[in-house]
């Protein structure tokens, strides 16, 4: 059995959070995010350059000897909380988490050094709704030429490299060799695209079971870490709603003094407090699983299997819990703001769209519960 997980933040985490929040509020306030989602380039490549290049956050969880910062997924989770809080339109989840985890699993040193440094950006070419263990590849290989289409891929519009699963392998393809068609997305702060390959030149980076497990590891860690982004979204919604209810007067008193509303916010706070514990647990287990499977290191097979199993449970739990928590927070935010919360000019809708899309991403809560049931031996009726 794996050791107890530390669910707290340490000083480094808080320092990271402080720096990031300051940078984001300066460079990516919600008014800019709102303007950007209506512009032709929805992804903020300048902000991405700061995050990945200047701040070195793209390679946060990559070991130092492999070109990264040698921190852990626990700190990546802190970054995601802040990016969620700002609904920042950058491909951090897709490139620095999901694609990076896939490449770490394959031992693709050259490529993830590129990602870690922020020189390149990658995306795993699966629908954003795909859940670990349920991916059905829609692209086929003929030699090293790929053909097929993948719909609704996240963080791929800005990617330099696409990681493409086929029935029996995982390939790296230069994004320039694919046709990417942007999609009007429910969450325009994370715009999706359809990706078509027509005999695209590809390089095989994993084959057979190793390819399958690389995709599974990537989507599992993605799910575990997305929970922290959802906590960030939820916390913003709560904080903003509480502040609004302190300043809004109706019936001659602060709206926030009505017990009917206070109790809803107390329940929401309780839910978010729990979501945070669950998300911290998932991040800790993702870190354990990555540690137990560092490429090239002497891997204790039993420890690695245990760690992966526990990460999978923690990730499914986190998505089952934090998805609903973030959606509830965003829905309460819209409702408790009243009329202003229903307008385009108020940022609440950005958070609602992010929350609902994220709940569907990487497996909906009910699918996560079904997967969890199998893992913890609560068989279907």
């Amino acid at each position: 059995m794996t050791a107890a997980a530390d669910l707290l933040y340490d000083e480094t985490d808080e320092e990271l959070r402080g720096n990031l929040r300051g940078m984001l509020s300066e460079r990516s306030p919600w008014s800019k995010v709102l303007a950007r989602v209506e512009s032709p380039e929805t992804c903020d490549s300048k902000l991405w350059a700061v995050l990945a290049g200047e701040m070195g956050l793209a390679g946060l969880a990559v070991p130092e000897e492999l070109g990264g910062a040698g921190a852990t997924w626990r700190q990546v989770a802190v970054v995601l909380e802040e990016l969620g809080r700002a609904v920042a339109p950058v491909p951090y989840l897709g490139s620095a988490v999901i694609a990076t985890r896939a490449l770490l699993h394959c031992g693709e040193r050259d490529l993830f050094a590129e990602l870690a440094s922020g020189r390149q950006c990658a995306a795993l070419a699966v629908p954003f709704s795909a859940m670990a263990g349920t991916v059905t590849p829609s692209v086929s290989a003929d030699g090293d030429a790929l053909t097929g289409t993948v719909t609704s891929v996240a963080d791929a519009l800005i990617a330099d490299v696409l990681l493409v699963p086929t029935a029996d392998a995982l390939y790296a393809v230069s994004a320039a060799d694919a046709t990417r068609t942007s999609v009007v997305s429910l969450d325009m702060t994370r715009q999706l695209c359809d990706v078509a390959f027509d005999g695209a030149r590809a390089r095989r980076i994993a084959s057979g079971p190793a390819a399958v497990s690389a995709v599974t590891a990537a989507l599992t860690t993605g799910a575990a870490l997305l929970a922290s982004e959802q906590v960030g979204v939820a916390q913003w919604c709560l904080d903003t709603t509480v502040e609004y209810l302190k300043t809004r007067y109706q019936f001659g008193r602060q709206v926030g003094s009505f017990q009917a509303l206070k109790h809803r916010l107390a329940d929401l706070w309780t839910r978010i407090t729990q979501a945070r514990a669950v998300a911290r647990y998932a991040a800790a287990r993702a870190a354990d699983a990555a540690d137990a499977a560092v490429p090239g290191a002497s891997v204790d097979a039993e420890r690695s299997v245990d760690a992966q199993r526990e990460e999978a449970i923690a990730a499914a739990l986190a998505q089952a819990y934090c998805s609903d928590a973030a959606v509830l927070a965003a829905e309460e935010c819209v409702q408790l703001h009243g009329g202003i919360g229903f307008t385009w000019e108020h940022p609440a809708h950005l958070y609602l769209k992010r929350a609902k899309s994220s709940a569907i991403a990487l497996g909906t809560p009910d699918r996560q519960r079904a997967a969890l049931a199998r893992m913890v031996d609560v068989p279907a009726a």
């Binding site: 707290l8 107390a266 819990y321 969890l372």
Partner: protein
């Protein structure tokens, strides 16, 4: 003890070892030897180490208490049976320590800690539950004494308690929060009558306590006349800290009973129930991790508000899980075991039948602060939302509508 060095775990282990060398823990299994051992432990400052020297402690960090307890347990030493004196240890003692006179501290804390004297809490009244400050039990000054009249309710342990902490109204002409005075009550005094209160499970864990012309010396007053509300609040603060419990493993609580029922009994499984069970599983695991995180915060010296979230969700979860189990068991659940449970049974909660757990858990969202009051506290103290406009704060207690 006079040490200049800081008290560390190693220092404490050495002190316990020295104590155990002088006091054979094995010989102290029962009877008088057991009490002598506990008294000596108190006098050595190894009882509650964060208390001051001379009052059972060393003025040491509270976080190191588990080190001391573990050493005593490992040596097979008798403990003070903390489960029997939860109110004394968790509520009366910190209140006496903070607000008591030196004489009161020296008289009460030692037999309290050793368990020689059990304590109960006379706070709630039929007319003052969530609004504790509305209580009406009267204390009237009579020379050096006070005469107490009133009725208290939901008093656990009153039938075995030697002493009680008591909040009264000494002046009905003052606004509610100002007219209160706090006492220690002798439960053996004439005029104290304890009656069992039967609850929805059929058993009587609690009591009603009737106080009729009970005479109380002024030396048993805790805090100044009129300071009752301040003192009561510090007692209740301790109540919130003491709820939470120890670390439990995954499926270690009621959810484990439910999950095992599902595993062992294919006949209870339906497709609809499957997702209900998994939703409960997810919420129970989230609650468990929240409690774990809260304990980690306490251990790191961060006293945050997360404990309120723990209590709030624990209550609803227990109710939901037991209710679900009751339905899953179908016909079996229509048949109950016993409604004549007297003072209750000494059976671990999770070993009780689902029907009992369903009913008993209804108390979880009422006792120790209702969930509604807890939501007020979270919204005001954690989120900083304003309180509802109130009309009861500034008028004399006697003029309040009731």
């Amino acid at each position: 003890m006079t040490v200049a060095e800081p008290i560390t775990a190693a220092v404490l282990q050495k002190l316990v070892a020295e104590f155990l060398a002088a006091h054979d823990p094995r010989a102290a299994a029962d009877g008088g030897a057991r009490l002598d051992f506990l008294r000596a432990r108190f006098d050595a400052g190894l009882a509650w180490i964060h208390y001051p020297p001379g009052l059972g402690g060393l003025g040491a960090p509270r976080a190191l208490q588990p080190v001391v307890d573990a050493e005593f347990a490992a040596a097979g030493a008798p403990d003070n049976r903390p489960g029997w004196n939860a109110i004394g240890l968790g509520m009366a003692a910190p209140t006496i320590l903070r607000h008591g006179t030196d004489e009161q501290k020296h008289r009460f804390l030692r037999p309290l800690w050793t368990g020689e004297e059990i304590w109960c809490q006379l706070f709630s009244e039929p007319g003052a539950g969530s609004d504790l400050a509305g209580l009406g039990t009267r204390a009237v000054r009579d020379g050096d004494d006070w005469i107490i009249n009133g009725q208290k309710v939901w008093t656990s342990l009153a039938h075995i308690a030697r002493w009680a902490i008591l909040v009264t109204r000494h002046d009905p002409n003052l606004p509610k929060h100002e007219g209160m005075t706090y006492f220690i009550l002798d439960m053996h005094a004439p005029g104290v009558e304890v009656r069992p209160l039967r609850q929805i499970t059929g058993e009587s864990e609690f009591n009603e306590v009737f106080l009729t012309d009970v005479r109380l010396p002024d030396s048993l007053r805790l805090g100044a006349v009129g300071e009752g509300w301040t003192v009561a609040r510090s007692t209740l603060m301790n109540e919130r800290v003491s709820i939470g419990g120890g670390a439990i493993p995954r499926e270690g609580g009621a959810i484990g009973v439910l999950a095992n029922l599902w595993r062992d009994r294919p006949d209870v499984r339906t497709p609809g129930r499957h997702d209900d069970v998994m939703r409960a599983w997810v919420d129970a695991e989230a609650a468990r991790l929240t409690a774990t995180r809260f304990r980690q915060q306490l251990a790191a010296g961060e006293v945050g508000p997360d404990g309120s979230a723990v209590k709030l969700t624990f209550a609803t979860l227990m109710q939901r899980i037991a209710g679900l189990e009751l339905e899953m068991r179908g016909e079996e659940s229509l048949r109950h075991e016993d409604w004549d449970l007297g003072r209750g049974r000494d059976v671990p909660f999770l070993n009780r039948i689902a029907g009992y757990r369903y009913l008993r858990s209804k108390g979880n969202s009422i006792e120790g602060g209702t969930s509604e009051i807890l939501r007020n506290i979270i919204s005001e103290r954690v989120l900083g939302l304003p309180s509802e406009p109130r009309s009861d704060k500034d008028i004399p207690w006697k003029d309040l509508p009731r």
